[in-house]
Amino acid sequence: MSEDVLAKVYEYLTPGLPVVPIAQGAEAVVFTSEKHPYLPNSGKFILKYRPPKRYRHPSIDKALTKHRTIGEARLLTKLFLIEGLKVPKLIACDAYNGYLWLEFLGEELPHGKGFSNLKNFLWMYATDDGDPYCSIVEETLKKVGQQIGLLHWNGYCHGDLTSSNIVLSRSGKNETSWQPYLIDFGLGSTTDSVEDKGVDLYVLERAIISTHSAHAEAYNEWLLKGFSEIYKRYGDAGEVKLKEVTKRFQEVRLRGRKRSMIG
């Protein structure tokens, strides 16, 4: 992580609000903070910062940063209004400077299995003496499918639906039940494009195949089952749309295969 980006963030926050960098993406740097920016609550909070890009003209860069920060914030506020859909809560947005404060989701998995995103969760059940086909895994993957179904049915796409961008949070005190949340809507959009939906499903399928190949078939089936459940709630209209999306998903998959045979 570049020193001057960090210095800039620390100067903006002042020493009163210390943060720790946890991830660096193409567009944003993600930090955690133990302090809330404006409430006396302590806990864990996420700060997402889009640093200036030197290769862009400064005024264009400023406008783009603002646009993207607002875009992600606005998307999160719209998705919050969809019943049943789980996304991080927006705490604050300083669009001019490229800062978003979000609720922190997830936790450390037991026995050092890492942060509770879908990827690590599936690893946990695939290693040691876990049962990769147990009902907890099945239930969780169906719920993930439902989240994607809710997103797509309501006319939104994620744009980068990997198994790290799905975070699991224990529902209440019940240790074995997990609620999936979709995170990182930096590439998300309001779109009813069947193509974008097909690509979302394909990206997640690829992510699962590449890290959990031995169980991928069952896993993807469970995901699609949950996904379909949402569409099927809407009768014939739902069935028609579901067919459209799954058909396109298969086409995207086929294209992907051809590309990998050539490449």
Partner: protein, 178 residues
């Protein structure tokens, strides 16, 4: 009265108090535009502490980065609470409508960053009973229908829990004018 500072803005002292059964609303209303240094907010349009602080946080963000739009911290507080960019709309959060429950907000720039003891005299002009500023107290007496209209919350949005309603207000405040 609650006196606090945001960790990111150690040189601003924020004092907030809730008064009920205020008897001199007319007098306050007459002074609100010119001679009062602090903001007077109609408490029935405040649902949660989070809603209030999220607006004050935006005031300080915009102030620090020179985008403050109104003449003073007090009018800026009303503006940032409002979901509209129109200053006239934001007056709704002031004493435009009669209410004897009033929240006072004072933002003061200070040279040091230590918490002073609450100065109970800053709001002494307000003749009312001081009440505890907490979510339960606010949400119980809040005019949720008017808030829904102001923040343009659709009737299909029927949150099960109060914190979900509060979250929708914070969303509107953070995105206001962007």
């Amino acid at each position: 009265m609650i006196v606090s500072r945001f960790p990111q803005f150690p040189h601003y002292e924020i004092s907030i108090a809730l008064y009920e059964d205020v008897t001199n609303v007319e007098e306050l209303r007459a002074k609100a535009n010119s001679s009062l240094p602090f903001a007077l907010i109609n408490a029935s349009l405040v649902f949660s502490v989070e809603q209030l602080y999220s607006a004050v946080y935006r005031v300080l963000i915009e102030h620090t980065y020179n985008k403050i739009q109104t003449a003073s911290f007090s009018s800026e507080c009303l503006l940032r609470l409002s979901a509209s960019t129109k200053v006239s709309e934001s007056q709704k959060f002031g004493l435009k409508y009669p209410s004897n429950r009033i929240i006072c907000v004072n933002i003061e720039e200070t040279t040091d960053d230590s918490i002073e003891r609450p100065d109970e005299t800053i709001f002494e002009l307000v003749k009312g009973k001081s009440a505890v500023l907490e979510d339960e107290n606010l949400s119980k007496k809040c005019d949720a229908d008017t808030l829904r209209k102001i923040y343009k919350l659709d009737q299909t949005f029927q949150p099960e829990r109060p914190d979900e309603f509060s979250r929708a207000l914070v969303n509107a405040i953070q995105l206001r004018g962007l």
